[in-house]
């Protein structure tokens, strides 16, 4: 008997000795620690994708783009709920957890350059979010891994902007103090040029300051930056601009570039997103060469021109906010057809670039600051002209293809533009001109065009006859966020318990 029990005891001991399981439970495919630069591309492209996604949402509200009646009933006619902006919120705020990991890894490894990039990216991403959603969590965002922070605290937009300025200040300082020769890897935005990141941080500061300028006196801060280029370097030319070049057809501008058709047009005529009549109207008004960059010739005129070169190419914008029936009625009334409206042009599709922030945008903000006597030094006319030229310069000729093949803005077009009196800066309607240029330059950056319109009311846009509400001025918190107890508490304390809808202004808006 004894020996059987002994056997059993041995067996039990054998089990015990196997009970050191730690090694088994470590995932062999996914590591606990990664080099910090591995996190950088998804964070940068995630932020850029958020912006790009706004092209057809906010970009539709501000009427950069318009959809033919019936094809985008929910958006174009403002039939909107928290589910409408689910991805705009979810995708962006979820990126912050990786920014936080970047920060932690950078601190652990003592890599201040990555710490600075973590700050800038956090600010960039969340500035897009707060601009459209208003009050958001900033300090505690993306920290659900920390016990007790599963439901991050919301902060007022004013406070969020303040915290952003502090973080950008910190980033500027970190980058300024870096020893020479330090670079970063896997930087898909600036290819490791930390000086450009520093300029981006300070330029972003200008954007954030000017955004709140209707609600808060920001003159001192704005002046401090513009007038101290050594301490606060900002974009100095078009190449400094934060431009992400998509390099893979599976990346994000796919919305525009997908399925290029075989008709030689280089565009997708079945694309429902048309250039709006507001944009086309503004460009045609000034005989602006950007028209041929933004808008493709209409399908019908393109095909006619292809068979008979004497037929003129036509450009026509789509009216926003029509119902399916109203669109039919429009076709019948005007004799126009579906193929008589312009889609986004081939140059944009081919370039596949996302403009996170442009030099032109900075100069227009500078012109505005000067025009508004904030204390910034400079001549507003010059700055204005430089700004518009900077916008043209985004579309310089690449390669040797003619304009018809790959549109660009030629020097003669530029000269012709400035030869027109209507395009000269006129101080009495300077702010309007600046805001209109802002609207034009931000084409496909829906967030920025819409934010500028919400701040200045320019350009004047009308809703279509068939809309269900007035033009949205806010994105509604994602339905996935609405049950966050911290949000519910915030809404109860600051908004009388009413979850804001898309017609409630955010704080920065006058």
């Amino acid at each position: 008997m004894k020996k059987y029990f002994a056997c059993l005891a041995i067996a039990v001991l054998a089990f015990q000795s196997c009970s050191d399981f730690e090694d088994i439970n470590v995932d062999p495919n996914n590591p606990a620690i990664v080099p910090v630069e591995m996190l950088l591309p998804p964070v940068i492209s995630g932020g850029a994708n958020t912006m790009v996604g706004s092209g057809r949402r906010a970009g539709q509200y501000v009427q950069h783009l318009a959809y033919p009646g019936g094809s985008s009933e929910a958006d174009g006619r403002f039939n909107l709920t928290g589910a409408s902006w689910r991805e705009e919120w979810n995708g962006a705020v979820r990126l912050i957890k990786d920014v936080n990991q970047m920060r932690l890894l950078a601190e652990q490894n003592n890599q201040p350059e990555y710490l600075a990039l973590a700050h800038i990216n956090k600010v960039y991403i969340l500035s897009l979010v707060t601009d459209v959603f208003g009050d958001i969590p900033y300090d505690e965002a993306g920290m659900g891994n920390v016990d007790g922070l599963e439901f991050p605290r919301f902060q007022a937009q004013e406070e969020v902007y303040q915290r952003m300025l502090e973080d950008l200040e910190h980033a500027n300082k970190l980058l300024a103090e870096l020893p020479a020769g330090v670079s970063v890897s896997r930087d898909i935005l600036y290819n490791g040029d930390l000086q450009k990141w520093r300029k981006f941080a300070n330029t972003l500061k200008i954007r954030i300051l000017m955004r709140q300028s209707a609600k808060k006196d920001v003159a001192q801060h704005v002046t401090e930056i513009f007038n101290n280029p050594n301490r606060y370097p900002v974009f100095a030319n078009v190449d400094d601009g934060a431009t992400l070049v998509y390099n893979n057809s599976s990346d994000f501008y796919a919305w525009f570039i997908r399925n290029p058709s075989s008709d030689g047009s280089g565009v997708d005529f079945s694309d429902n997103a048309r250039v709006s009549d507001v944009m086309v109207g503004l460009l045609e008004n000034g005989a602006d060469p950007r028209l041929f960059i933004y808008a493709a010739p209409t399908r019908n005129s393109f095909l006619a021109n292809a068979s008979d070169a004497s037929k003129e190419l036509e450009y026509r914008g789509q009216i926003a906010g029509l119902s399916s029936a109203e669109q039919q009625e429009l076709y019948e009334r005007t004799g126009l057809k579906e193929g008589d409206f312009s889609v986004v042009s081939r140059r944009i599709r081919r370039d596949n670039r996302a403009f996170l922030m442009t030099y032109s945008e900075l100069l227009l903000l500078k012109a505005e600051a000067i025009q508004r006597d904030m204390g910034v030094t400079g001549h507003v006319e010059e700055v204005y002209q430089e700004a518009v030229n900077a916008s043209f310069d985004k579309w310089k000729q690449v390669g040797s293809q003619p304009q018809i093949q790959n549109p660009y803005i030629s020097d003669s077009q530029r000269e012709a533009y400035w030869a027109r009196a209507v395009n000269q800066y006129q101080p009495e309607k300077g702010l309007t001109m600046i805001a209109e240029q802002y609207f034009i330059d931000s084409f496909l950056n829906g967030f920025e065009g819409w934010a500028s319109w919400r701040r200045t009311g320019i350009p004047e846009i009308k809703t279509g006859p068939s809309v269900l509400a007035s033009i949205p001025v806010r994105y509604v918190y994602s339905d996935n966020e609405q049950n966050n107890p911290s949000l519910i508490e915030w809404v109860n304390e600051h908004m009388e318990g009413n979850m804001p809808n898309h017609n409630v202004k955010v704080w920065f808006q006058p």
Partner: protein
């Protein structure tokens, strides 16, 4: 340790004394009776209890040995004794007044007959121990192998449907190789949803996988060890649940151990119950027995949507075919909608209208409805099963070889399934004390093409037909390549500028193939050594292994894959179990029986995936991973988990009337953090044969058994959920990048705990002609391991936590009756009825956690406690709904009904109020007729067919208010929210119905249904016909399955489970369930 040893010695000493004293008392006047006990076939029966009792004298008792030999000692010569022979599974036999004479010539030959009465029924319980049903203190229900075989279901799990009280089976679709979902006594667990609530399947003592390994078009591998990766991508093809492919022909019996009580010995995976499968081993066969079974089966759809036949393609009553691309505005030739003109036979240019060769103009043809589009497309599914087995046994060796070939062609053209199962089961008594048993099964299954499913999938058959123009003649689609395209472009009537937006179903069926080939081997080797007559040691090693190679093709011009697509996915799974079991069953005392077992188990599970996608083909229709027009997407995963366990069980019986069982098990799981990785769970059960104990037993009152059980089971989780990590993936520009894992783990996670109890009774009345078995159970799960859904602002999708508490309680009732029982005719009725009520008692409200989203596909499956606008039960669906004001009026804005979809409302709970079934068996001479009804009451089903079908204008619900041309306006009844007045704005019919029907609540229906699950007629050839042939027995049977359905749910069979069976209660355009007719012939030589 020392004191333990002391006790052991002491008890042995005591036992020895006991035996000695009994022996010495009666040594003097002894006579004895010797004899042998055999069964009806003449095989010796071991372990037969032989006893006698004469007035004033004590009980004499012995047990027959290996050869059936017994000796009863200490009998008085010249006296007459009643001698009683009992053996579990056999009828008691009594020799009345046996005269004991002097000398050695008292020899007795007894043949016992097998017990068929339910009263003495035996059941297989945990660890494969066969026990008298009456001694079991928890709920076990057994289904005989004949019932399983005769059902001829391709998926084994379906055969249990309606056969076992408290077991809910949901069949995902009528496609070949489709999955079935099985659940016993409701959902105890939350994480990973349904497959974590599947019972454990055990074949001959070895756990086997019932995983449902899914392949998604976005290859990400499996994230959850016990659960396929549902969230990583949309599944499109059902590859079946792993336990479904066990060959029914090999099954001797299936025992369902329902509660965690029954399962405490199998470890945490068995906390949802155990399906114990015992395979045929050839034991008891006499002479070479050959059995041949052939079955043929035809299947047709049980229920198809009712389409409307009044209006055709188009919009606002307008349609004319130009080029299918919508180039001419207002002709609506490129839209997938049936809101077009009335189908009155008027002449219209259509896609399939002939083209005048002279002018190139299309010649208008009559615009008429084609009524049988789907019926004409679908074929009769055919299944052929041939099965052969050879079995034999003698006193040392038993074996059984079996081979089954199954070949099936599905309802969808060009879909098929084949399965070859080879089984070997053999046992050999090497030396008298050592026995070796081997069971091995090899299953090769595969398909050239499985149909795809899904409400978002352009290749899902039901979806294609839901959008098909009602005026389209399906025959015009049969040549599915565009003639001039050189097989690079499909022939489809609906395009946009760049290609097809609606797939030709024939193109999908013949070009977009989803094939797989799967090899599976499972089995075990077992050695049993009889150390002493009462002490046995068993060592067993078993394995379940499969490797599934899958290929998915999408031809150029497929609507979702214009440039083609090719994916390969390799699925590998292996589980190894080593067991040791020491069983001790001493004969202690005549009144008390005792047995105990002590065992250990080592379990190791490894799962691997390797997959790659060519997202765009360089050369059309060449399916090769190196034919990639874009960088390959590839990935691999590896997961491993081990559990080591020791367990013990003991049973004490008193006079065959009271049985007490206790068990205990301790597990060490590799998936838990070190501090919490050891956990113990005990259980106890009691069975009391009250009728014997209280002396109530009579002709009319045969038995009353009371039973009760309690247990506490703990459960671990999938591996790699304790340490945070980064997912390394392909990112920007195809380069490697990392993101922090969206599902945040927990270093301090504790095992979940289910405490449950059950009690019930089993009674037999009127000569065993009426039986009633009732069980009430109650379970409480605490420390639920839940990947808590965080809000996006927290950054992580989920965070693993121990939160909340959930309870289940319910009742199971089994009623059996034999209204008529005579030699030639008998009628038996069996009724199963059960209900389960679940309650989410709490989550972690104090930490802000009041809702947990488990799964969302339109409707969202969420856990909400009662105070969060939920019903506080698991299985509840939430979704958007139309807004009615306080007076019950529908609110409108600009003429359109208003819908709430920010804060979702309660739609209903998918779990039925109760489920039940009634089976009737009639036997007349050699004829047998049986039928089985099964159904459920309550529960809801959410139908995507309903919403999409009305949106597309294809279902009759979309007809009202359309005018004679197909246009028309509606002024919706209700109130205008901007004016507060009744709505007076008229909007087009199409637009109105599309907003009215586009919400989740309107498509959620009461899922109550009744099905005629099975009808079977069989005829056994009379023995006298076969006397002079080599045939020992032959029978012919006809069987129909799922013949009729009664339900109020429009268009669909409410018994659905979306995707591959994981989302019970949601219908997402799976293939309709099947109605089968079959015939089989069974011949035994």
């Amino acid at each position: 340790m020392k004191s333990n040893r002391f006790f052991i010695y002491l008890s042995w000493l005591w036992l020895a004394c006991l035996f000695f004293s009994i022996d010495s008392l009666y040594a003097q006047q002894s006579g004895q009776v010797k004899g042998r006990v055999l069964d009806q076939e003449g095989n010796p029966l071991t372990g037969v209890s032989v006893s006698t009792k004469r007035n004033q004298e004590g009980v004499r008792r012995t047990v027959s040995d290996q050869n059936g030999v017994f000796v009863l000692n200490n009998l008085q010569i010249g006296q007459q004794y009643p001698i009683v022979f009992t053996l579990v599974g056999y009828k008691n036999h009594e020799e009345t007044d046996y005269l004991v004479s002097a000398g050695d010539n008292n020899s007795l030959l007894v043949r016992l007959t097998e017990q068929s009465s339910e009263l003495e029924e035996v059941v297989v319980t945990a660890l494969g121990i066969t026990r008298a049903a009456k001694s079991v203190g928890f709920s076990v229900q057994q289904v005989g192998g004949d019932k399983i075989q005769e059902a001829h279901e391709t998926n084994l799990v379906n055969t249990l449907s309606g056969r076992v009280a408290g077991v809910q089976i949901t069949n995902s679709s009528g496609g070949i190789g489709a999955s079935s979902n099985i659940q016993i006594r409701g959902q105890n667990f939350v994480s990973g949803y349904n497959y974590n609530n599947s019972p454990l399947f055990v074949v001959d003592g070895i756990p086997i996988s019932n995983n449902n390994e899914q392949s998604t078009r976005a290859f990400t591998g499996r994230q959850d060890f016990n659960n396929p990766n549902f969230t990583g991508g949309e599944g499109e093809v059902d590859y079946g649940n792993a336990a479904g492919e066990i060959d029914p022909n090999d099954i001797e019996s299936i025992s369902v151990l329902k509660g965690p009580n029954a399962a405490a010995l199998y470890g945490s995976r068995a906390s949802n119950g155990v399906v114990l499968i015992t395979t045929k081993s050839g034991r008891g066969a006499k002479g070479v027995g050959i059995n041949f079974n052939s079955h043929v089966d035809f299947g047709t759809p049980l229920k198809l949507p009712d389409y409307q036949y009044e209006y055709g393609q188009g919009r606002y009553g307008v349609y004319e075919y130009v080029d299918g691309m919508g180039t001419e505005a207002g002709k609506f030739d490129n839209i997938m909608e049936n809101w077009g003109p009335a189908l009155n036979g008027q002449l219209l240019k259509q896609w399939d209208s002939p083209v005048d060769p002279q002018t190139g103009e299309r010649i208008a043809t009559p615009f008429v409805a084609h009524r049988n589009q789907l019926k004409d497309f679908l074929q009769t599914a055919k299944t052929f099963t041939n099965s052969l087995s050879i079995a034999n046994s003698n006193d040392k060796l038993n074996y059984r070889f079996s081979y089954t070939n199954l070949s099936q062609s599905g309802m969808v053209p060009n879909t098929d399934l084949r399965r070859n199962s080879l089984g070997v089961n053999a046992g050999y008594q090497i030396i008298p004390k050592l026995r070796l048993d081997v069971a091995m099964n090899w299953v090769n299954s595969g398909s050239d093409n499985r149909a795809s499913y899904g409400a978002k999938n352009d290749e899902s058959v039901m979806r294609m037909f839901l959008y098909m123009p009602r005026n389209l003649d399906i025959n015009s689609l049969r040549n599915y390549w565009k003639p001039e395209s050189g097989q690079t472009e499909q022939h489809s009537p609906i395009f946009n500028m760049n290609g097809t937006i609606w797939n030709n179903p024939y193109f999908v069926a013949y070009e977009n193939l989803n094939g797989n080939n799967r090899d599976r081997v499972y089995g075990n080797v077992k050695a049993t050594y009889d150390i002493r007559a009462d002490l046995k040691l068993m060592l067993r090693s078993g394995r379940d292994f499969y490797n599934d190679k899958r290929t998915m093709r999408h031809a150029n011009s497929s609507s979702q894959y214009k440039n083609g697509y090719y994916q390969e996915d390799d699925v590998y799974f292996i589980e190894t179990n080593h067991d040791m079991l020491l069983s001790y069953s001493p004969k202690i005392h005549s009144d008390f029986s005792f047995n105990a077992s002590l065992g250990g188990n080592l379990m190791a599970q490894v799962s691997k995936r390797l997959g790659a996608i060519a997202p765009r083909l360089a050369i059309p229709n060449v399916y090769n991973l190196t034919n990639n027009g874009e960088p390959l997407l590839a990935g691999n995963t590896y997961q491993e988990k081990r559990i080591n366990s020791i367990y013990g069980t003991a049973q004490i019986g008193f006079r065959d009337m009271i049985y007490l069982d206790v068990t205990g098990r301790n597990d060490w799981s590799s998936a838990l953090p070190k501090a919490n990785n050891s956990y113990f769970y005990p259980s106890a059960s009691l069975s009391v044969i009250a009728s014997d104990l209280l002396g109530w037993t009579s002709e009319k009152f045969n038995m009353l058994k009371l039973r009760g059980a309690a247990s506490s089971v703990r459960r671990d989780l999938e591996p790699y959920r304790t340490l945070p990590n980064f997912l390394v993936t392909q990112g920007w520009g195809g380069e490697t990048v990392a993101i922090h894992n969206n599902n945040y783990p927990n270093e301090n996670i504790r095992p979940e705990k289910v405490v449950s109890y059950e009690f019930g009774f089993d009674s037999r009345l009127f000569n065993n002609r009426l039986g009633l078995d009732l069980t009430y159970y109650n379970s409480r799960t605490t420390d639920l391991i839940i990947p808590v859904t965080l809000n996006p602002s927290a950054g992580y999708d989920t965070k693993l936590m121990n939160v909340g508490e959930m309870t289940n309680h319910g009742m199971e009732l089994m009623l059996s009756g034999a209204p008529v029982r005579s030699d030639n005719f008998s009628w038996d009725i069996f009724i199963n009825y059960s209900f389960n009520r679940n309650k989410v008692v709490s989550l972690a409200e104090d930490r802000g956690i009041s809702r947990i989203r488990q799964l969302e596909r339109w409707a969202s499956l969420e856990l909400r406690t009662e105070n969060t606008k939920g019903d506080g039960a698991s299985g509840s669906l939430y979704g958007d709904y139309l807004i009615y004001n306080d007076n019950g009026l529908l609110t409108h804005y600009n003429g359109f009904p208003q819908e709430e979809n920010g804060d979702w409302g309660y739609l209903g709970n998918v779990n039925p109020k109760w489920i039940g079934s009634i089976a009737n068996d009639f036997r007349y001479k050699n004829w047998n007729l049986s039928f089985l009804f099964a159904g459920q009451k309550g529960g809801v089903v959410h139908s995507r067919t309903y919403i999409d079908g009305i949106n597309a204008g294809s279902l009759p619900e979309s007809l009202p208010f359309r005018d004679e041309n197909g246009a028309g306006m509606i002024t919706g009844e209700g109130i205008d929210i901007s004016t507060g007045q009744p709505n007076n704005i008229a909007v087009p019919v199409r637009d109105y119905w599309r907003s009215y029907y586009n919400n989740d609540r309107i498509a959620t229906f009461d899922a109550s249904y009744l099905k005629l699950r099975e009808v079977k007629i069989s005829y056994r050839l009379p023995q006298r016909l076969l006397q002079r042939t080599a045939i020992k027995g032959a029978s012919v049977s006809f069987i129909g399955r799922n013949l009729m359905l009664w339900s109020d749910v429009p268009h669909i069979d409410p018994e659905v489970s979306a995707y591959d069976g994981q989302f019970v209660g949601v219908e997402a355009m799976s293939l309709p369930s099947m109605r089968n007719f079959g015939m089989s012939v069974n011949v035994a030589f």
